[in-house]
Symmetry: C2
Subunit: 234 residues, 2 copies
DNA sequence: GTCTATAGTGAGATAGAC
DNA sequence: GTCTATCTCACTATAGAC
């Protein structure tokens, strides 16, 4: 089933997911690894690390279980690879926080981006949430290394805005904790949100409304006003 | 080890955890069940439902594994019992939201209460979070039943405040989503918070500072001011 | 009521044919 | 590179002695 679709030569049509170092392996290897990672994201999100079985991931990917071990060695290595991809996406939204930008626009763009991520990649968000809740053993170094550093940089930007009197005095680090929690809850706790809203599923307009409410609440909380040009995020 | 401490007669010294119907069983039964539930909370929080083993819970409770099955039947029933206790605590904080109260004081009391809960019962919060993230199969009825109803009631209270012009116009349901996420993240994502703050553990003063920041941000976001008498929550 | 010993199941991982 | 068949082990649950 689906062996070689578009086997045209030349560089890969799109790098889809940026691989650690160079995109090792041939075309079929890359395609299979991508399929396995996509299936793994769904199964790990649904069941957690221990609850997920290699059998379930293999079935979802449409491959025999042994192939997963051939490509990724162990369940833990597959999981770690998946986490790495997710973490890369996680920090991208920080790019919006730059000193030259208008505070309201920058923070609005950050919120909008994180909300879009919750809508389009809820499974990735759940895998990350599950990992952190259960101790973050696989990504401890990342959290206290790269993440801490980038938060420090971006907190300095916000401190600058506060010092210039361009927004209300807030502790930027706790502001980030609040923004992460508020936006990710629409992915991680989606079931609860749906239950309370009495929805079968969350539509795009549900997300637009939620984003609008969060923007108002958070920007007003920062002593800012919602910018007319709600930035597009990316 | 520790067989009968305080076996004085009369009614139970304190009902500790309110049981479903009547506190069925004798003193030792109640004591053992409480020990098992406490151990289960810790193990389920650390490892999730599938990752937790009855062996690990038994060891933590200092009892043989077979006793857990004697008291609770199956792993799933033990888990469901634990979830029931946690849900009861979860809705208690809503008691602060009443029409007669000052909006700023009521919301401040709600936030303060939820933050105290994150500090004192982080394990319970994690068990709940894990359950919701992975589909809330065990508590679906509760979420779309009792929880939805109580949220509707309390949302009406906030709508009333808004209609009276006592606070900024907000969608109360999404406000609750934000308050839940913001306060519970200090329990569920504690590892991440500690990593970013470079703390070995979160102290009481860390929580006081976080609570203060959340109060400022959220109340200002609702067009309110932090009340002078920061309510004690309970 | 309590606990030891064990049955039965399903998991991760791999050998070895293709 | 791919996949079937299988090894080994940990887990839930229970039978049955005390």
């Amino acid at each position: 089933m689906m062996k070689f679709s578009a086997r045209s030569a030349g560089p890969a049509l799109k790098p889809s997911l940026d691989t650690p170092a160079r995109p090792a392996g041939g075309r079929t290897r890359q395609a299979n690894e991508a399929r396995i990672l996509e299936a793994a994201e769904a199964v790990f999100a649904e069941a957690g690390f221990t609850g997920a079985s290699m059998q379930a991931i293999a079935e979802r990917a449409g491959l025999p279980k042994a192939n997963l071990h051939y490509y990724f060695g162990t369940k833990e290595l597959l999981y770690r690879t998946l986490l790495g991809r997710i973490l890369d996406m996680w920090v991208d939204a920080f790019d919006h926080i730059t000193p030259d930008r208008d505070p309201a626009e920058a923070i609005a763009a950050y919120i909008t981006d994180k909300m879009r991520w919750s809508r389009t990649r809820p499974l990735a968000s759940k895998v990350f949430a599950n990992e952190v809740i259960h101790g973050a053993q696989q990504i401890e170094g990342y959290l206290s290394g790269k993440l801490r550093q980038i938060v420090a940089e971006k907190a300095a930007v916000i401190d600058g805005w506060v010092a210039e009197g361009r927004m209300a005095p807030v502790d930027p680090v706790h502001l980030f904790f609040t923004l992460w929690a508020t936006t990710q809850t629409y992915a991680d706790f989606e079931v609860q949100v749906r239950a309370v809203l009495a929805r079968d599923r969350l539509t795009e307009s549900d997300f637009d409304h939620a984003t609008d409410q969060i923007l108002r609440l958070m920007l007003r909380g920062c002593g800012l006003e919602v910018p007319h040009t709600v930035p597009d995020g990316r």
